[in-house]
Symmetry: C2
Amino acid sequence: MTKILSAQVLDVRFPTSHHLDGSDAMYLDPDYSAAYLILQTDHPDGLEGHSLVFTIGRGNDICVHAIKSYLSYVIGKDLEAFIDDMANFWRLICGDSQLRWLGPEKGIIYMAAGAIINAVWDLYAKLEKKPLWKLLADMTPQQLVACVDFTYIEDALKPEEAIELLQEKQASKNDRISLLEQQGYPAYTTSIGWMGYSDEKIIRLCRESMANGWNAFKMKVGTDETDDMRRAGLLREMIGESGLLMMDANQVWGVEETIERMEKFKKFQPFWIEEPTSPDDILGHAAIKKHVNPIKVATGEVCANRVIFKQFFQAKAIDICQVDTVRMAGVNEVLAVLLLAHKFEVPVCPHAGGVGLCELAQHIGMIDYISISGTMENRMIEYVDHLHEHFIHPVKIVNGRYMPPTAAGYNIELKKSSLSNYLFNSENS
Amino acid sequence: MTKILSAQVLDVRFPTSHHLDGSDAMYLDPDYSAAYLILQTDHPDGLEGHSLVFTIGRGNDICVHAIKSYLSYVIGKDLEAFIDDMANFWRLICGDSQLRWLGPEKGIIYMAAGAIINAVWDLYAKLEKKPLWKLLADMTPQQLVACVDFTYIEDALKPEEAIELLQEKQASKNDRISLLEQQGYPAYTTSIGWMGYSDEKIIRLCRESMANGWNAFKMKVGTDETDDMRRAGLLREMIGESGLLMMDANQVWGVEETIERMEKFKKFQPFWIEEPTSPDDILGHAAIKKHVNPIKVATGEVCANRVIFKQFFQAKAIDICQVDTVRMAGVNEVLAVLLLAHKFEVPVCPHAGGVGLCELAQHIGMIDYISISGTMENRMIEYVDHLHEHFIHPVKIVNGRYMPPTAAGYNIELKKSSLSNYLFNSENS
């Protein structure tokens, strides 16, 4: 047995706003930050479970506080009791009724629950000496489905149906793993088109990215229309007809405004428009989708939970599901979303960027390919070229594709030096 | 000019779980709590703005922390600069992009924003020496609509249309104020039917309530079906055919489960089924509503924001809108929901109970009646008979109806003795 002995929750902030890395129409000056959790165990190898809540600066301290509220559920407990029944462990954490009230199932308290859950998944994978994607890929359909709590989604997908869907993909899993290990998983880059960058910087970064094998690019839109159009024209010209250009409005428009804007932007042939409006507006996205076709509609990075995703799928409101790894309640809930997306035939393109999100998202894209959807078609994992140097096992990109990680765990472990160099004194916040 | 000089944010908890007051199928042992905000000013009368975030115990400290994160927006600032343009003030608070990330527009960070906004409304009403409902009732349609930010709801309701809707009710406002002052506003009581109460206690409380003029009662359902049916039978027998019986499942069922259960419960003629499933499941409620008709479907007490309400209305998914006063971002957003509900012809029955929610909710029901919907038909404010003794200006109930409050402000001010007696040491949480 492995006992969880203690925990550290750290407020880590990187001053990304100094260079406007990560800037967009909604979030003008983010400081990429992590409410960072370490679970220490008595395992002879000194195994630790790591995870984080990603924030953009102020309020990172609140997330630290929220994570601490859940620690009594895991400290002093046996890891094996949790990993023997991961759905039950999920219910234990998400079911604290007094803390649940603070969401329910959304916002700070839910991200904090996710941090606890993901740290236990990290420990689970490390105990099995596998990267998370491989831990999940080695599960039978029954085992994978048993990790998911189906509360509130059974009207759309029942466990038995989920098992059937997975069984179809079971025999060919190893072929897909081989292909993945040879060719990697498709990706697109967001690093070139932040709102705060000058045209010159965008051109330079785009040129460099193309030289490195990238063919899919995302730009930020949503402030001045003329600026957006000039930048879109620049990028389309540089990447040519064959390049994929995605646009991301970061929630700044209303429904009608999105439809008007995209009518003007369609000449740049964007592959998708991302987060055009409120991430909660299922019916709004459905209306937008109807009007902007063939431009695809994408959202999900701040989608609160599986219930919102379920409705996006039921209402045929989105073309691309951009599930995030740290916004919802951990791996279990992400699996629920992958299963739902597969049933409703919506491609999953995991949201990444921030700090550590690429390291996490790659596992999700890969397990989707190996065990669930079985395809890479219309699928890409977001990539952002910031802050990877702080991770012990950073992502490996070859020719614009994610190579499957080989280190055991969920690969979110920050270097000790980075943790101490960027530790934030929340007394000053 | 009135300057906001300083603030106190207090963690106040009442040990209600000892008697299972407030217990239901989801929240088995709540300790009604308040993250309580006081804004102090330099006004010669010593005006203070009071507000709170209501929680059910653990995590109240996180809400205190979150409220503190917004204080720099108001401390040292002139009150008049805020109240001259309340929509702009709302955008100032809700628009902090780094804090917004932690929602967005939901959960702890949004409730904290609401506390700041409501405390300023409390000051505004005190400055004008009016109870909040009267402050709002005295506004012209243009002034009232100018308090609302229409971001993300303009596709359903534009400011000009909202003004037109209000103008229809303008001439007859004073008649309704007179009627309200004579007869009060309809209410129903939830105090009799908490999950943890014995049959004997329910019978006794129901009898007492009927003797006090109550004719509308809510019971908790959602644990054991046989128990629910026995209790429903008891209550229906006691209150007779003419009494209104509401059922509240506090989110414990799935969509299909709700439909099955309500088929069995319909013989008790419930007026509504409240929170049958996930509060985020707009399409789920729409499906339920179709099946359980003529039983009405009610939800909203934990509805995250105006965008979710907008969709509940657009999808014809609910019959009753149970907006809460402290879950969303303050009075401004509640007004947005009242306007949307009126346009879509959905009656508003404000959620109350907890600690202080009755004191707040009465203002919302009354302004809806006076200036917006113009009717009390199918409308009631929830009433719960707990913790009123701690307030300086508790609600006044006569014959099962709320009498309009007369004290200036939003009437959420706790007695100094209660604040000190129930102050919680969050170091121990």
